[in-house]
């Protein structure tokens, strides 16, 4: 079994190194869900090593992993333990033993190119009348909008803010409209490797055919997979916070208004921990006139996961009582911030829900950095 799993991980292109593990516990110690759920990634590695894994079908906690990769970042032996979870999930996917909501999301991606169950034809409806050109006409910057900003009402506001900001800065950008298809970042992480491969096979030539030297993504999740897993040729992939920081530095993005608010910032795992983009989002926020920027305690490499990644947008988790997002919004409120700034559609959704459930609506507003920038234009 041990050899099988190691072999499987290798076949799936995962860098898992079971034999490197010294069972130190650094992974589980830092795992955001290890206190609230039964998931213990260190112990899973041990069980895999000594051929003692129980029946996977009964291990619902495998779906609790948010793929924040804190364990991967910190493992002193570079075992990449989360990739064991992805391998095990892929076995469950093969045998069809996956939570129904995840199955629905995957089916929707397969049929409609998005996990939210909406029709492909409606993907660009949010952009109507905004004067956004099709990337097909040729552009300097291909903006990959992403599924959630395209369909989710709350996130559409972020997409519109982005369009406003790019236009104001004179960026020559275009979008793929109804041709744009899910990036597959979460697809890969829930272990649906076949579907992910298909998305890459179709997506890579499409993206490359635009001929834009730069792609900017709204979501850190799209950014992550395009940057590391698509092997895109002739195209630099940037998250929008990196792009905005660059525009500000070059003097292309200037502000005429002010945002007189106290703002704190939540690092998305796929941008921060996994890609070490810590400074640019902060630089953008601090460039906005009027913003008083304050930090929470758990930031950057020690940021607390919002629990929205790795398929958790489509799966409630085994512990619906204690959510990390609940802790997070309290921490944000304690800084005295009026705005909890985010840079990821999943964080937006998780944290905004948490603000509501925790009754903090009159104290704390969750806003995307793009919205704050747009407000100050």
């Amino acid at each position: 079994m041990q050899a099988d799993i190691q072999e499987l991980a290798k076949e799936l292109g995962l860098g898992l190194d079971l034999l490197g593990c010294i069972q130190c516990g650094k992974c589980t110690g830092g795992c955001p869900v290890s206190i609230t759920t039964a998931l213990n990634v260190r112990f899973l590695v041990y069980e895999a090593l000594v051929d003692a894994l129980p029946d996977l079908g009964g291990m619902e906690e495998l779906w609790d992993c948010t793929c924040c990769f804190t364990c991967v970042e910190r493992c002193p032996k570079d075992v990449r333990p989360a990739e064991l979870i992805i391998s095990l999930r892929s076995q469950l996917v093969e045998s069809g033993k996956i939570p129904g909501t995840i199955g629905d999301a995957l089916m929707s991606i397969f049929r409609q190119g998005n996990p939210l169950g909406f029709a492909r034809e409606d993907r660009a409806a949010w952009a109507e009348g905004l004067g956004i050109k099709s990337a097909r006409e040729g552009c300097e910057v291909l903006w990959f909008v992403g599924c959630v900003p395209s369909y989710d009402m709350r996130s559409q506001a972020v997409a519109k803010a982005a369009a406003k900001v790019f236009q104001a800065a004179g960026v020559d950008f275009g979008i793929l409209g109804t041709e744009e298809t899910c990036c597959g970042n979460e697809v890969r992480r829930v272990g649906e490797m076949g579907l992910f491969e298909m998305l890459v096979e179709e997506g890579k030539p499409l993206l490359e055919s635009v001929g834009a030297p730069t792609m900017v993504t709204t979501s850190p999740h799209c950014f992550n997979t395009f940057k590391h897993e698509y092997n895109l040729e002739g195209m630099e992939v940037l998250h929008y916070t990196q792009f905005l920081a660059r525009l500000i530095e070059e003097g292309k993005l200037t502000f005429s208004g002010k945002v007189e608010r106290v703002v704190t910032y939540h690092d998305p795992c796929f941008l921060g921990k996994q890609n070490h983009v810590f400074d640019e989002p902060r630089a953008v926020l601090q460039a906005i006139p009027g913003v008083k920027f304050v930090e929470m305690d758990r930031i950057r490499e020690r940021s607390l996961c919002c629990e929205g990644g790795g398929g958790r947008m489509w799966f409630e988790g085994t512990n619906t009582e204690e959510r990390l997002a609940f802790q997070r919004v309290h921490e944000a409120a304690e800084t005295g911030a009026e705005v909890l700034a985010v840079a990821c559609p999943f964080c937006m959704s998780m944290l905004e829900d948490a603000v509501k459930v925790q009754g903090l609506e009159d104290r704390l507003k969750v806003m995307d950095i793009l919205e704050l920038v747009a407000e100050a234009m």
Partner: protein, 572 residues
């Protein structure tokens, strides 16, 4: 030119190691008919007394002037057979070896093919032997004295031994004081002896020793020469009876150099998950030494209720590029945890560990004492630290409980590991010392030559070679001193004879050999514009010979005509 070759060839069975695969009789018969061969024999063990006697007797009786032994690798027995040849009156450099064991019988199965290959190796060796010229064994004189770079315990102890043996020792210390890291320590394991009770005495002995000169705020600027005769240029201030002199440049002539530059402690800013530099509650074991010495364990003016130690910080970590264990931090944690228990009996002390490696003499007993004093050992590699009120939270999985905990603490001590100093490269470049993958200086052999380096006459002492505690540091320092004393006491050093020589008629003065030589042996003669090799520095590696476009520089014993003769008979 050399005398007409009279060659003796000896084929070894090596028990059955060779004879089982190679037909030694056939090879012997074959060798008898080779040009210049006067006698060919085979024998069970050529390296044995009777085997060597065969060579000596034949050489005398038959007037041999060349000897070829076909047996094992020259690494092992070339010196043996050279000596035997010499005793028989043959110049030891007119001996050649054919390796028919490692390069033949051990790697082949087919007897016919192996025998054919053994014949080929023998014919090549005979062809080369016929062209070998006699060379002389050489020696050079030694300048008495040693330079010791670094004035920590390693450097001080090594210098004292050199000085006690009656030779001048010069300590070159970069900082403004002697003692190195130990000067910042409080008490030392495994006996908890206060450093103040032994270090000042050691420093005093060094400073007052008539044979020792100390330079402070000093650095080695240049090293020239070779084993036995180094010229070391030091910039810094000489310490004399009246105190520290003016900064200046000093030229020191010595026969040996001891490197004792120590280590640096790991900088925990590189482990951002611990919030070092962010939380005043998080400190390193080095900072803890000072606190323990000053009896100041309070945080924010309050006595800590809970002190947590985190081990392996910066060690055993592939992602950081420090895959090794630092070997001292388990003992340091056990020491400091115990001292906290003694100073504050009401304070809870927890050590989080991956493994407990308290291996040295009295190490395990020391660990027992730490636990007996009330220190709680819990297994788990701490993952993260964050704030909770005015305390910090240590987030860690107790792997025995299989549970992730949020442990509140008032003081967290990071057991930082040891790393090679950032300036290791400077010394490495000056002395042409290789470094191992972990960044520390590389010893010549991991088991057999732990204090020697690739450079003759340069020795390693203490943590510059790898992490160690004080007892191991001192043991290695004394070993380095003893090794450095060998040339100093003997007064001469042997130098190899198979060195490069330049034919000034052919040399175009392009300087390519100067550039390529890893040992700095060739130099362009300023007057004649041609290259000259310092035969004491030359190791005979041959890099110059293959580089020289004019074929002007050649290595004795490995001249092109000698090697080509070998190749020619093989190709025929």
């Amino acid at each position: 030119m050399a005398s007409r070759p009279r060659i003796g060839v000896y084929i070894c069975h090596c028990g059955t190691n060779i004879a089982a695969t190679v037909d030694v009789e056939a090879v012997t018969e074959f060798a008898k008919n080779l040009p210049g061969v006067v006698i060919a024999r085979h024998y069970t063990y050529m390296c044995s007394e009777p085997g060597q006697a065969l060579i000596k007797e034949d050489a005398r009786k038959l007037g041999l002037n060349r000897v070829v032994v076909a047996s094992c690798s020259p690494r092992m027995h070339e010196p043996t057979f050279r000596a035997a040849s010499q005793e028989g009156g043959v110049n030891p450099y007119q001996f050649e070896m054919a390796n028919i064991r490692e390069q033949c019988s051990w790697v082949h199965h087919d007897r016919d093919e192996a025998t054919a290959k053994a014949k080929a190796l023998v014919v090549a060796a005979v062809a080369k032997a016929a062209r070998l010229e006699p060379l002389e064994d050489r020696e050079v004189g030694v300048t008495p004295g040693a330079v010791v770079i670094g004035g920590g315990v390693a450097g001080m102890v090594a210098a004292l031994d050199v000085a006690e043996a009656g030779f001048p020792a010069y300590i070159v210390e970069k900082s403004d004081h002697l003692g190195g890291h130990v000067a910042d320590l409080n008490r030392t394991f495994p006996d908890l002896e206060p450093v103040a009770e032994w270090l000042p005495g050691l420093i005093e002995r060094v400073q007052s020793h008539p044979n020792i000169t100390v330079f402070l705020n000093a650095q080695v600027a240049r090293v020239e020469g070779y084993v036995g005769n180094f010229e070391v240029t030091v910039s810094g201030s000489k310490v004399s009876g009246s105190g520290l002199g003016e900064p200046g440049t000093h030229s020191l002539q010595v026969g040996a150099i001891i490197v004792a530059t120590g280590y640096k402690v790991f900088d925990p800013h590189r482990k951002p998950e611990f919030g070092y530099g962010l939380y005043p509650q998080v400190i390193t074991t080095l900072e803890m030494e000072r606190r323990l010495a000053e009896g100041d364990l309070a945080v924010d003016g309050k006595e800590p209720e809970h002190v947590v130690f985190i081990k392996c910080v910066g060690s055993r970590d592939k992602q950081l590029g420090n895959p090794y264990c630092s070997r001292v931090c388990c003992m340091i944690s056990a020491k400091q945890a115990q001292l906290v228990r003694q100073a504050l009996p009401d304070t809870r002390v927890t050590v989080f560990y991956i493994d407990v490696r308290t291996f040295g003499k009295r190490g395990e007993e020391f660990y027992d004492e730490a636990r007996r004093s009330g220190v709680r050992y819990r297994r788990g590699n701490v993952s993260e630290i964050y704030r909770r009120g005015d305390r910090v939270v240590v987030r860690v999985e107790d792997t025995f409980l299989r549970r992730t905990l949020e442990v509140e603490a008032d003081l967290v001590v990071l057991a930082v590991g040891m790393e090679a100093r950032q300036d290791t490269d400077e010394i490495a470049t000056l002395l042409k010392l290789p470094r191992s993958a972990d960044g520390f200086f590389l010893e010549a052999h991991p088991k057999l030559r732990p204090v020697d380096t690739a450079m003759d006459g340069v020795f390693l002492a203490g943590c510059c070679q790898g992490p160690k505690d004080i007892p191991d540091t001192i043991a290695q320092a004394r070993a380095a001193a003893a090794s450095a004393l060998i040339p100093l006491l003997r007064g001469t050093v042997p130098v190899i004879s198979e060195t490069a020589v330049v034919d000034p008629e052919l040399c175009a003065g392009c300087g390519m050999c100067v550039e390529v030589c890893p040992f700095g042996a060739p130099a362009l003669d300023p007057l004649w514009g041609v290259s000259r090799v310092n035969a004491v520095l030359c190791k005979g590696c041959g890099a110059c010979a293959v580089t020289c476009p004019s074929k002007a520089i050649q290595v004795r014993h490995f001249r092109p005509d000698q090697i080509l003769a070998q190749v020619d008979v093989l190709v025929e």
